[in-house]
Amino acid sequence: MINLTLEETIEKLKNGEVTSEELTRLYLARISEVEPKLNAFITITEETALEQARESDVRRKAGKTLSDIDGVPMALKDVFLTKGIKTTAASKILEDYIPPFDGTVTKRLKESGCILLGKVNTDEFTMGSSTENSYFGPTHNPWDLDRVPGGSSGGSAAAVSADECVFALGTDTGGSIRQPSSFCSTVGLKVTYGLVPRYGVVSYASSFDTIGPITKSVVDAAIVLNHIAGNDPMDSTSTTVDLPDYRTFMKEDLKGKRIGIPKEFYGEGLDPEVAIVIEKAKATLTSLGAEIVDVSLPSTKYAIATYYVLVKSEASSNLFRYDGIRYGHSSLKKQETRDLRSDPAGKNQNLEEVYLESRTEGFGDEAKRSIMMGTYTLSSGYYDAYYLKAAKVRTKIKEEYEKVLSDVDVLVTPVSPFPAFKIGEKKEDPLAMYKADAYTVTINTAGVPAMSVPAGFTEDGLPVGMQIIGPMMGEGKIFEVASAFEKAVNIKNKKPNL
């Protein structure tokens, strides 16, 4: 039952073959069983989940289900604010933070009747590509426990791939949904910037952050997207257009489709085993009737530099709110217990010290490094040389994608230059870690959508995902290619040996 996709689970609930409570208990049992090996969850909300499940069953009996996904157990990356439930962003600085409100997407899923199993692991403040930067320890890849699940939505991808939930939500700022999906053999959708509202989601880089589903199949992602996408008055960057039912884009062949292959994604640095899987994937696409077109994206060379200058600048600004004053880890409490007799009015409490101590104690290395870099690139004297320059290169990147995507339906590329690497292998070399994002960061820079869909495995059994890139608001085109490909490749029932 727990290895079923969302689409299949919906049928079982509808037919009465399983109740939401039974299903939730099965998933909670699975979580207990595999968590010691995976460490995908930061918080497991067992009581809340069972309560929500029972309420769902009552609704279903009365014929009053809230939506097609009423009663479905899911997990949320621990950057989605959940009212009354600890939300940590995998950081010591938010270790005990209990949000006073639900984010928009949290609310939308709650109002659809979904069951929250818990909050899953991520790199601290979603900064990272391996989930090793978490204050709560790394998550392990279910396909090989010595390896990373990818990041930053490593907890989400590992949980879905190990059947610890029916689906999960992640965030993608530079590849954080797609890369872990590629490493864990799940479907991961990075939406068009602005399609899914960001209100109530911990920010990393406000002009790059997106929210999206990580699922067991392509149609599952469409079902979830139907529930989370759409305008939100609390997010001024959220789309105002009417949206389609994404399930209508499922296809079985690709006759008439033009698929662009950008040569810059296939050169030096690409692991030969990944190349083999992607070549086979291209052959599959051709056999489905698609026309393969060679294209070029020369700005790819500058993608990482552009991305990291901009993203770290925005991050340094976003992380300034963690100051030990309104919420989060604070040295203020410690100061409270300083000698009250000699300093009853607290006049010796030093504001600057509170900022310094709270932030220094609360942030991990990558967060500190990010803040430092962003502070430098935005500082007077360096703003033009770094930030402004990168912002201008961003315009060129965006225009280039628009031009190339106006001539083809989608682009197809690898997601990552290599499959899941070993835990600890890249942690001490930030630049090497950044360069690993070569194939994903340009997409966020341009704002376009892209999906990672499972394409195959290496000789050692490590998952390899294929990236399908669409034009702005072109999720439909991506779903068409992904659904037909998934059917032909037929590996969605392959599970890790846990």
Binding site: G84, Y97, I98, P100, Y193, G194, S206, S207, S236, T237, T239, T240, K301, Y302, I304, A305, Y308, V309, S316, F320, G324, I325, R326, Y327, G328, S330, L332, K333, Q335, K347, Q349, N350, L351, V354, Y355, L356, R359, T360, F363, R369, I371, M372, M373, T375, Y376, T377, Y386, L388, K389, A390, A391, K392, V393, R394, T395, K396, K398, P430, G447, M472
Partner: protein, 97 residues
């Protein structure tokens, strides 16, 4: 331009409100220098006459009507996260001495 000295790192840390020890200053100086040097790749790009992109939606001046939201938040829910709270207010150190 790219090689950061310990003094540079100290200045940045001060702006960023972070307190680093000697080992961290050296580590970050090296790591950040590496990344910033890599960023100089951007000097190769011709950006004459190009406008910067602040965000990719193309939307401008998004507004909503000036009406009070119906969403309520309980003081209790906010208080639980406050480092120090007294008589319904956040207690903070002096800003001015």
């Amino acid at each position: 331009m790219a090689k950061l000295t310990q003094k540079d790192v100290e200045n940045i840390a001060k702006l960023a409100k972070l307190d680093l020890n000697e080992a961290e200053k050296e580590k970050f100086a090296n790591q950040l220098s590496g990344v910033l040097e890599y960023a100089e790749l951007l000097n190769e790009v011709d950006i004459t006459g190009v406008e910067p992109t602040a965000q990719v939606t193309g939307m401008t001046d998004v507004t909503r009507s000036d009406q009070v939201s119906s969403e309520k938040v309980d003081q209790q829910d906010i208080q639980v996260n406050a480092p120090t709270f007294e008589k319904g207010a956040f207690k903070v150190p002096h800003v001015f001495k």
